[in-house]
Symmetry: C2
Subunit: 291 residues, 2 copies
């Protein structure tokens, strides 16, 4: 499977940002990409940086956005993983991945299940938690286990996608540093973020793609200074080994992923064979208090 990924900054407006994305998509297609993955909320700035009810207007274009990206998938004859702000009903909005088939039809949607909320990342204000569960999306290039950003920290999400037959895990992301943190702390955060995702690959015997944004975006509410999105998009194989690691600037590349390795690695490290499923039921508890 030849995958293209686009690690990009916000260009000051939705129009300019999309224009840059389209250039990258065109280039990746020319290099043979069959599947292209864009970062989380790639159309615009990361508006969750503060709480402002006017920002919900950014979802007013939801229906048009679907048509637009459907056309892009069709024109380029690619499977396209987009990450959009879904307006579902009055007062119900989702952080939603829409996957388009090569013919422009919608292959499937995933609504972000785990919603973060901390200074600079006020997603619980904007996004209703997803209600589509953890379902891989069947496409012409394979069964895509698409999850979004904060989902990265939850092994349950990766495991469920794997148990439902996903061929690959894909995480569009928007994560970054605060400039005021020490270099040591920044390095620890980045390292933890990469490590936890590589572990999903290892414990499930499945390749993984993570696509993050870059650039600094300011908080005009002045609660924080802003977020410097750390890039570092990466691809690992079914053993969690790096196939590709980006830096912290814009990059768009095509990567070849061998999906046949999933079977091979699971024969050597048969973790799925040995799960003690009869003893896992308390995973569905919030916490188990001492008696």
């Amino acid at each position: 499977m030849r995958v293209g990924l686009v690690q990009q900054k916000f260009y000051g407006s939705k129009d300019l940002t999309i224009k840059e994305s389209l250039k990258s998509i065109k280039k990746l297609k020319e290099h043979g990409a069959e599947l292209i993955v864009l970062q989380e909320l790639h159309q615009d700035r990361y508006f969750c940086i503060n709480q402002n009810i006017d920002n919900f207007d950014l979802a007013n274009s939801w229906e048009d956005d679907l048509l637009f990206w459907s056309n892009i998938a069709k024109e380029n004859s690619i499977v396209l993983v987009t990450s959009l702000f879904e307006k579902r009903a009055k007062g119900i909005y989702h952080n939603c991945v829409v996957v388009f088939e090569k013919d422009g039809l919608i292959a499937g949607k995933y609504r972000k299940m785990h919603i973060p909320d901390d200074p600079g990342f006020y997603e619980k204000f904007y996004f209703t938690p997803g209600d589509l569960g953890f379902e891989p999306i069947e496409t012409s290039v394979g069964k895509l286990g698409v999850l979004i950003c904060w989902d990265q920290w939850f092994p349950e999400a990766a495991r469920l996608m794997c148990l439902k037959g996903a061929d690959i895990l894909i995480y569009p992301t928007a994560i970054g540093w605060f400039d005021e943190d020490s270099d040591d702390e920044k390095q620890k955060q980045l390292d933890a973020w990469i490590t936890v995702q590589r572990a999903h690959s290892i414990s499930n015997g499945i390749p993984l793609i993570s696509v993050n944004r870059v650039g600094k975006e300011l908080d005009n509410s002045c609660v924080i200074d802003g977020i410097r999105f750390w890039g570092n998009s990466f691809v690992v194989d079914a053993q969690g080994s790096f196939i590709y690691r980006a830096g912290d600037k814009e990059e768009s590349v095509v990567i070849d992923i061998d999906l046949a390795q999933n079977e091979n690695i699971r024969r050597v490290w048969p973790f799925l064979r040995d799960r003690r499923i009869e003893d896992y039921s308390e995973i569905t508890k919030r916490f188990i208090d001492s008696v």
Copy 2:
């Protein structure tokens, strides 16, 4: 919490091996260790390297082993994590961690839940799967989430220990390389082993200790040449950052672990707050076949 750990080789006999362990325990106690962790099946060679019914005799000393290590814990006034071959009943044997209190009493037991089985590691032949579940062991130094080796690859085990209030995860281990594998493959295996465990620390906000054996042990059945146990015992803090990493030779060290960090890191990265427990129930399935 000041923890001591002993990364050791097999000295050709049980007596000689234990003698070396006791020297290390004495030294670690002198350096202030309150808790000491020994590696998996530390009394003897890694007998699961081949299938031989005579090896079950190694468990005949089970009751004596309990008395012996109880005395060591009491004499040194330490909490002691031992890893023993339990003879429970005729034909029922377990790979069992026994934790002793400073007064020599048994604080708790953990019977290995996930049992591996592949060339050189024939554990399904020897060990009945554990039936005590994933229960942390309450001790005077904290609540110990003790798991064993192959359990390392299963995020469910770490999560359940954490949900049940474990303060720390502890993995006695016996894992190694085959000399005939390439250096690149060996590095990938070691890296995956470290990565998957660090991820348990990160996703649960909990420190983790992993203690592995060293040295080469031969397979006298000649199915394989032998196993070179790779050492590389390590300790990470509640953010998954290394506090200590051993090499591939014998080492015994004391490490200070700050259990107060668990609360601090979970406030900054509140993964436990955001779990979608209502959507995790299929974790208890073996696999979810497509309809």
